[in-house]
Amino acid sequence: MKLKMLVLSLVTAVPLLFLSGCEMVVFQPQGPVARSIMELINWSLMWMLLVVVVVFGLFGYIVWKYREKPENMGYEPPEEHGSTVLEIVWTAIPILIVIALTIPTVTTLYDLEDVPAGYEEKEPVVIHVTSADWKWIFSYPEEGIETINYVNIPEDTPVLFKLTSAGTMQSFWVPALGGQKYSMNKMETELYLVADNPGSYMGRNTNFNGRGYAQMEFEVLSQTDEEYDAWVKEVKETAPKLTEEKYMELLKPTHLGRLTYSNTHLAWINHADHDSELVTDPEDYRYHGYQGKIFDQEDKKSNEKDTTDVENNEEDHGGDHSGH
């Protein structure tokens, strides 16, 4: 029976693929945060595998045994309405499994909100992350430096990422070190990560935000304390200063390579502030197709009623297709 074979091959293929999964980034945690999530995932995988084995086994057995064959054509199945006992059993067992999964889920959820266990004594490094289209801006307020599209952190030290966005919503994810969190304009979300060892880890945006989304990656470089201190010192001494005009230029929807500055943009704007100004310009986002009306951004608090009418927009649409 072809069906049976398909089922059998599925049953054997899934665990095999899971074994090969040991090389996948989520299963190779490089820090305590990612490790705690992986432990939770493994715990759930075990239970889910049990469910799969039981249901697939039962399914294969029933379909094989009760299939119609030439010799049982005369068999008329009995009338059967159900069984209260059985139905209680297969309600109760899933409830127990759900409870078994709930408890570690909830404890992990609470743990992830705080400094990872074992690192409470160490003073966390605070890094402000500002996502923009389509780049990541990292500001170190203590150290007074700013990097774009890469972030260096000391190993074995908790790092508190304070996430916000200059415009669209992004999601900050370094799978080797831990789970993700959204970055939103006028909001601040927090994420603790720790790297066990020196190393380079991929980080990226997972929340779709337009044409440049696919390339919105960054590198997390974990360094020894000495290397890290040396890097900070070097940046402070050699990197150029960021000006406000330059910063506004950076926020336009473009791809940038790596950039480094010896001051931070937090001096003039923190996009997490609830009354911070939205500084992006819709005109920069014009692309192909029919162009609609753009409205005044009331953020700029211009009280006079100036309505951007259709005629005005026509002059400058269809211009800059930046980003490629």
Partner: protein, 663 residues
């Protein structure tokens, strides 16, 4: 160059400069000309108008829904194939990123709202009145309006990519990206307006089916004697009424933001982008159950029929669909655990989400035990239902894994998630509509789909599906994200992406066989078949195939669950005595629903292009339609006894000498 007349920028209306889109424009033009030419040449315009466009017959409306859904399946499938081709190798350049974004947005919207929903609503339309022993739905003309509003919305959405620009913010259309601040083109207006029009139709369908099922059941059919598909349709309709108004509001607010500059979801002036996400998923998660519950109902019917056994645990099946419906309203936050709303909120929604696994598990075991001690006949419809079980279990267990808030931080927005929901929606909905189509096709048309081609369709589709989506679980765990139009060679994703692309070709081959099967069966299938070819259990099989327009000459009386099975067994209520024939009252056809479709289409089109004056003026068309309807006192017509006698004796005579095509 600017060409503006009364504020309309004529040169921007058609999308230019992309060879794929140019090809589509030419293809659309040629197809339209071909259809118009063909209809004129064959002199079929009058037939089309009289038999189909103005019909209020639930069976014909159902068939129109299904035809539209198959076309939309083709469109959405092409979008899917384009995505798979683009990501087959790293750094491919078949599509640029903007085009890819438009393609995955269209794929999502079309597959959920213009394929899955209408396909299911189509089957509901065909089957439900028959299953409950009624002659039509409660409001036949409203039913036609529902279809035509869906059609209007679907057509508007489908022209977006050649006229004016396609929506490109994903099927979830998250703000702030989807707002004017970051998407100033009109593409996303298409999303807001066309889904609004189609959504109105769906809401009316929900109301219509609740009243139909509550009020029009035949004598003796108590609630607990209703077939499972009727039950799931009833609960689905309740979810539609409870959830669709939320979407109506969300889309209206989106329209206000984009067209009139309000600040509901904008980042400026105090708007809240996450408010959109909340409203969207407050509708969107119940929406998932709106498409999955009827599918559960169909599987229940088919598994029971082909195991020759009553559905196991009928009562617990009913309780579990009600439980799923209630829980479906309490889980929406699991779509954005990562927004940082805190451990308490995430814990709550993790628990409610995981709890859905319990009633779903109950259903799973009930299906398995329906087959136990049965005699399982491997028809194509049954094969789809069988394949549903293991595939849906994979979708279900990965769903539980995603439900665990803390673990979701690693799965969110990755291909793991994409694989999960395809493992839920394809086995859950697509397998179901295929199963349902093979199962009810003879009832709709009086001939069967070819079983041999059907099995080719089945195996290609199921294998292709698994090869396409299984690799995505592993890609996701390795850090590959959804909606990215490309990836680097160093990422190491290439082999699995390639495998997935190969799978999609097999999947498409399965769909091609399905289309060929329809063609083959229309041309060559035997017309001389029984009205009950599967030896089925419910009332729709108690009447002729295809079903005569009044459904039943005499409304059947129900004494138990699986009424028709026991009618056959005890040989009662099947024969029609001449004195039982009475005149039957039927509703008249109406062109108004179609005209409303045109009116809504025109107003919607003008709104999408932000031509407010034209839109306001053409709203008069809609108002005129409403006034006409208010003064319309057409009360339908009666079918004469002689006509009923003639129709009934024709199909009953046939029954004696039919061919069996099942075993």
């Amino acid at each position: 160059m600017e060409v503006t007349i009364v504020g309309i920028k004529w040169d921007e209306i058609l999308i230019t400069g992309d060879p794929i889109i140019l090809g589509s424009q030419i293809a659309i033009l040629l197809t339209s000309l071909g259809i118009i030419g063909g209809l004129t040449y064959l002199k079929k315009w009058k037939w089309l108008w009289r038999e189909w466009i103005t019909t209020v017959d639930h069976k014909r409306i159902g068939i129109m829904y299904i035809v539209a859904a198959v076309l939309m399946f083709f469109r959405g499938g092409m979008d899917g194939l384009m995505m798979k081709a683009q990501t087959a190798r790293p750094e491919m350049s078949i599509l640029d990123s903007q085009h890819y974004n438009e393609v995955f947005t269209a794929h999502g919207v079309i597959m959920i709202l213009f394929m899955a929903m209408p396909f299911l609503i189509g089957l509901m339309n065909v089957v439900i009145p028959l299953q409950i022993g009624a002659r039509d739905v409660a409001f036949p003309q409203l039913n036609a309006l529902s279809f035509w509003l869906f059609f209007s919305g679907a057509m508007l959405f489908n022209i977006a990519f050649v006229v004016g620009g396609a929506p490109d913010a994903g099927w979830t259309s998250y703000f702030p990206l989807a707002g004017k601040e970051f998407s100033p083109g009109i593409g996303n207006n298409y999303y807001a307006i066309s889904l609004q029009i189609a959504g109105l139709g769906t809401l009316m369908t929900g109301i219509n089916f609740i009243v139909t099922i509550l009020k029009m059941r035949t004598k003796g059919m108590t609630l607990m004697r209703m077939p499972m598909f009727t039950w799931t349709t009833l609960i689905t309709s309740v979810i539609i009424v409870a959830a669709f108004p939320i979407f109506t509001v969300a889309l209206a607010l989106m329209t206000f933001d984009r067209l009139y500059g309000t600040h509901f979801f904008t980042v400026a002036a105090g708007g809240s982008d996450m408010l959109w996400a909340n409203l969207f998923w407050l509708w969107g998660h119940p929406e998932v159950y709106i498409v999955i519950l009827p599918a559960f109902g169909m599987f229940s019917e088919i598994i029971s029929t082909f195991s020759r056994k009553q559905l196991y645990g009928y009562k617990s099946m009913v309780v579990s669909i009600v439980a799923i419906a209630v829980l479906s309203m309490l889980v929406w936050v699991h779509h954005f655990y990562t927004m940082g709303s805190g451990a308490l909120v995430n814990s709550f929604f993790s628990i409610t989400t995981m709890m859905i696994a319990v009633p779903t598990g109950v259903k799973m075991f009930n299906w398995l035990f329906t087959m136990r001690k049965g005699r399982i006949k491997m028809t194509t419809a049954m094969l789809w239902s069988l394949a549903f079980v293991p595939n849906f279990v994979i979708g279900g267990v990965t769903g539980v894994m995603l439900a665990m808030g803390a673990a979701d931080y690693q799965y969110h927005n990755t291909l793991f998630l994409v694989a999960h929901f395809h493992y839920v929606l394809i086995p859950g909905v697509v397998f179901a509509v295929f199963a349902g189509l093979y199962y009810w096709w003879p009832k709709m048309f009086g001939f069967m789909l070819n079983e041999k081609l059907g099995k080719w369709h089945f195996w290609l589709f199921v294998i292709g599906f698994n090869v396409t989506f299984m690799p995505m679980f592993f890609l996701g765990l390795n850090g590959a994200v959804r909606r990215a139009y490309t990836y680097s060679a160093e990422s190491g994703f290439a082999p699995l992406f390639m495998l997935s692309a190969v799978g999609s070709v097999i999947l498409a081959a399965g769909f091609a066989v399905f289309c060929y099967n329809i063609y083959w069966s229309i041309r060559y299938a035997d017309r001389n078949i029984s009205s009950d070819p599967w030896d089925a259990r419910t009332l729709e099989w108690a009447t002729s195939s295809p079903v005569q327009h009044y459904n039943f000459a005499k409304l059947p009386e129900v004494k138990s669950l699986d009424a028709f099975w026991y009618m056959k067994k005890n040989n009662e209520g099947i024969t029609l005595k001449d004195e039982e024939i009475e005149e039957i009252h039927m509703p008249s056809n109406s062109g108004l629903p179609f005209l409303m479709c045109v009116a809504f289409g025109i107003v919607g089109f003008f709104l999408i292009f932000e031509w407010h004056l034209l839109a306001a003026v053409s709203t008069v068309l809609i108002i005129a339609g409403l006034i006409y309807r208010s003064f319309d006192y057409n009360d339908g017509y009666h079918i004469h006894k002689d006509e009923i006698r003639k129709t009934e004796s024709t199909w009953k005579k046939m029954e004696g000498k039919v061919n069996n095509h099942v075993s």
